[in-house]
Amino acid sequence: MTTSATHSPGGRAGSLWREVTQHGLLWPSVALVVLLLACGVKSPGFLDVTLRDDHLYGQLVDLLRNSATPLLLALGMCLVIATGGIDLSVGAVMAMSLAVSLTYLDGAADPSSPVTVATALALGLGLGAVAGAFNGFMVAALGIQPFIATMILMVAGRGIAMLITEGQITTVTSPPFKSLGSGFVLGIPTPVVIAVAVFVLVTLAVRRTALGMFLESIGINREASRLAGVKARSTTWTVYVIAGLLAGLAGIVYGAPTMAADANNIGLLKELDAIMVVVLGGTRLDGGRFHLGGLVVGALLLSALERAVIIFELPSQTTPLFKAVVLIAVCVAASPYLRGRLRTPRPGARGAQRPVEVAA
């Protein structure tokens, strides 16, 4: 990060202060911590995590579990956004994948056998990948604008899910499948384990290989990167497939605890949540640089906001307003304008004071 500060009154402490305030994740993280602490004050015990029946239990654990779905969606969305695209279909893909998995289980002779569950899982993920490949085809091969291209599945996908479930809410009983959403691995909720594993995999894939750089270069200038030898088309295609696959996984993880394929409601408006998480995480919508670490903070903040409304005993009518207020605050605080103001503190006034606090 290049800083062109003219004043550096605090020496090392000053540069630390600068680094902290310039970090894109500062304000989302601050909001998250403040929110959680406020919940803890309002409702004692909120921050407690206990061991119950050999697994972790507590509001924070629930929060982590509920963050898994938005995180999975946002991971795919972030890669797509890095290439300068967007994927509006992820919510509908969630519904499709869950529908095909549960419908298969419903028709299977023994819904609880491991093979059946594995097949159901593979079908769901496969359908997600196919949906992603379709999006990728529209965007990369046909050159349709991503917003429009993915809107097709956003609308049609729910219809396809309805076709799969024949308009019914398909419910099945299959403990192994259910445990994908509500089970525990070594005391940690399975969705959290899945989300962390996927996060690590994606991070390694984009940061330990050149893929991440390719994505950013495509997002910044597709034509220039193509001329420089980046396979823009196949790379773009790949990220849509990844986004579709992760959306399918998110749908299964989200729907598994209740085992009900509700084609109308599963994943409804989740694409907007995913975009919000990406933006909260400090990635700009116009492509180029992206921050995977920020997604974790963004997903946690989103879940914490929804939970805080109930903890603060606010009526549910105010949930959107409450979300909006926090988001506006975070976005304004992280805006280039205010960050610019923080970068060059007025001489003597704040720059000299604050570093002491940070260092203390």
């Binding site: 509500s182 605890p257 109930i310 903890i311």
Partner: protein, 327 residues
């Protein structure tokens, strides 16, 4: 193929005539002009039914019930159109019905507003309208002859009365449906009219299992003293069971659950003693609708509103009752 069918049609028509005569005999005043404007004498009653969509198991059961009741055997020629939850589809269907000059138009409007023009057209054509399940907000005068559906407010009140009687000291958490929907507003009002002062907190679960679960997880923390959940539908209640069990409590005992709907999964939870009381929201009112349409065609006086009979169930329900549930 055609011969037996036409024979059956005639038989059905005869049965229809018989039914009309019987009804005419029962009603003292309305019988006079029944023959003139009905046209039901020789033919089947031609009904155009526009269903709003198939958004839930409840709606599907409702559709099946309507189709099963408005059959040729019962004296109806049903033209059933699914609007797939789009108003424009529904308006188009209604216009088609006018063009076909059906005897009666029945429909469940997707939303309340935006019907002025098409309702005026129907009115000008002289076809009577029967509203099903939902209602409209329109400037057209006398837009429909009658309405049939469930009384959500009564459902809420029935649930409230059970709580008042069986759990008068319970601390109630209310799990609301999608905010602003008729079912949420009216069930909440009915319930709160009876036991409003027992309600310590409310949150919306958007009528879905997953969000019902999330809301109850948080509510368990925010309202540790709660020991009864009133949920606006079964699905959210089923999500609540998940959350309660995850918290190491026993649904139905530590935290009682009172629900509205009575879908099979909900009744199963009742048999499993995880729900305590379920107020039915009965979708199977095709036969009542058929009766109503016959009366409308015969020009009989019909009540402005017909409330579908809702039953309610407690834990005395048996597995056989659940298995017999069609939806």
């Amino acid at each position: 193929m055609s011969r037996p069918a036409s024979l059956r049609t005639r038989l059905a028509a005869l049965v229809g005539v018989g039914a009309v005569l019987a009804l005419g005999a029962c009603s003292s005043s309305g019988g006079a002009d029944a023959g003139s404007d009905g046209g039901s004498g020789g033919d089947l009653i031609r009904v155009g039914f526009s269903q709003l969509g198939a958004e839930s198991g409840w709606r599907t059961a409702n559709t099946e019930s309507v189709k099963a009741s408005l059959t040729e055997e019962n004296g109806f020629d049903l033209n059933f159109v699914d609007a797939q939850q789009k108003q424009e589809n529904q308006i188009k269907a209604l216009r088609d019905f006018v063009a076909q000059d059906v005897d009666v138009i029945a429909f469940s409007p997707v939303i309340e507003t935006g019907w002025d023009e098409v309702l005026q057209e129907i009115k000008d054509s002289g076809i009577p309208v029967v509203l099903v399940d939902r209602t409209v907000d329109t400037s057209v005068e006398d837009p429909f002859v009658t309405w049939i559906g469930a009384d959500f407010e009564q459902e809420g009140r029935t649930a409230g009365e059970w709580v008042a009687e069986n759990a008068p000291d319970a601390k109630v958490f209310e799990l609301q449906g999608t905010l602003g929907s008729g079912a949420q507003v009216d069930r909440e009002k009915g319930f709160n009219d009876v036991v409003g002062d027992q309600v310590i907190g409310k949150a919306s679960g958007n009528f879905t299992r997953a969000e019902g679960r999330t809301a109850v997880e948080a509510a368990l923390q925010a309202y540790p003293e709660m020991n009864l959940i009133f949920t606006h539908n079964d699905d959210m209640g089923l999500g609540a069971i998940e959350a309660i069990e995850a918290a190491g409590k026993v649904p139905g005992e530590d935290i009682q659950i009172v629900s509205v709907d009575g879908v099979r999964d909900g009744l199963q939870a009742l048999v499993d003693k995880k729900f305590n009381f379920v107020v039915e929201c009965n979708p199977v009112f095709g036969d009542q609708l058929a009766e109503l349409i016959r009366k409308v065609v015969d020009g009989e006086d019909v009540p402005e509103t017909t409330v579908v009979e809702d039953k309610s169930f407690d834990q005395t329900i048996t597995q056989a009752d659940v298995d017999a549930r069609p939806y």
